[in-house]
């Protein structure tokens, strides 16, 4: 992918995270729960994972945050050390780490099908 398209995706995922992260914080403070500690009860958490709407929000958040965070990390690393070999190493390692995180997170978000 071109660096310009990577950065465009970086910005769009950033804006999407601002929206979806707001929903995520709301579900842990006032949306459907009475407070922060109530939202961390076992029944409350599994209830949210069994609700398909919240699962979609969590899955979208997972993909967007993984892309945005690891791409930001990649940018910092290849800006600090400027070297062709280093750039290639960083690109491939962040890509593989991102794929692992997305697969692991998807198994957790869809855990009602995979893990129970």
């Amino acid at each position: 992918m071109k660096e310009s398209s990577i950065m465009l995706l970086h910005y769009t995922t950033g804006i999407l995270i601002a929206v979806l992260g707001g929903v995520h914080l709301a579900t842990h403070s006032f949306l459907g729960v009475t407070g922060y500690f109530d939202s961390l009860n076992y029944g409350s958490v599994t209830g949210r994972y069994n609700d398909s709407l919240f699962s979609i929000v969590l899955e979208l958040l997972l993909i967007n945050v993984t892309y945005h965070g690891l791409n930001g990390f990649r940018i910092i690393l290849i800006e600090v050390w400027n070297n062709n070999k280093w750039t290639r190493i960083v690109n491939w390692s962040t890509l593989s780490l991102g794929v692992i995180v997305i697969i692991y997170g998807t198994i957790i978000v869809l855990g009602k099908y995979f893990l129970i």
Partner: protein, 156 residues
Amino acid sequence: MTEKKDSSHVYRAKYPRRRISQLLFGSPNKIGRITFTLHRITGLGLTLYFLVHVLTVGTVWGGEPTWDSNMAFLENPVLLFGELILLAALGFHGMNGIRLILSNYGVTLTNPSRPDYPYKIGSNNKSQKILLLLAFLLSIILFLLGYLFIFLRFSL
């Protein structure tokens, strides 16, 4: 001597290595440099938190006793204070990120002008300063909201 196939030595000759304090705060546009540094530090911190968060949240499928013992461990004051810092970092990173996107597309910037005395930086204009203040304000508001919900156990 090792061979250098890329152009890094040319880059290094043009831009010599600087001290870390100079890199963080040594700039005529001091507030811009500080926000740049804070944006990167908060970004790294949030990414690290996200990876740990995915790992800890996954234990919900281990059953109710596992989850309850994990939550009891996470409920110590140091980690709760860490969550407040995290909320402030999140607010700052988000608002400053919106400012960066806007200025990347030239929304708050003026046309370039001739550098005359006293060499004021055109990009550091009033709307930029307002957006920066908003970024800091939002991070403080999120910190206070987190304090309300987490430490004072506020419930609706």
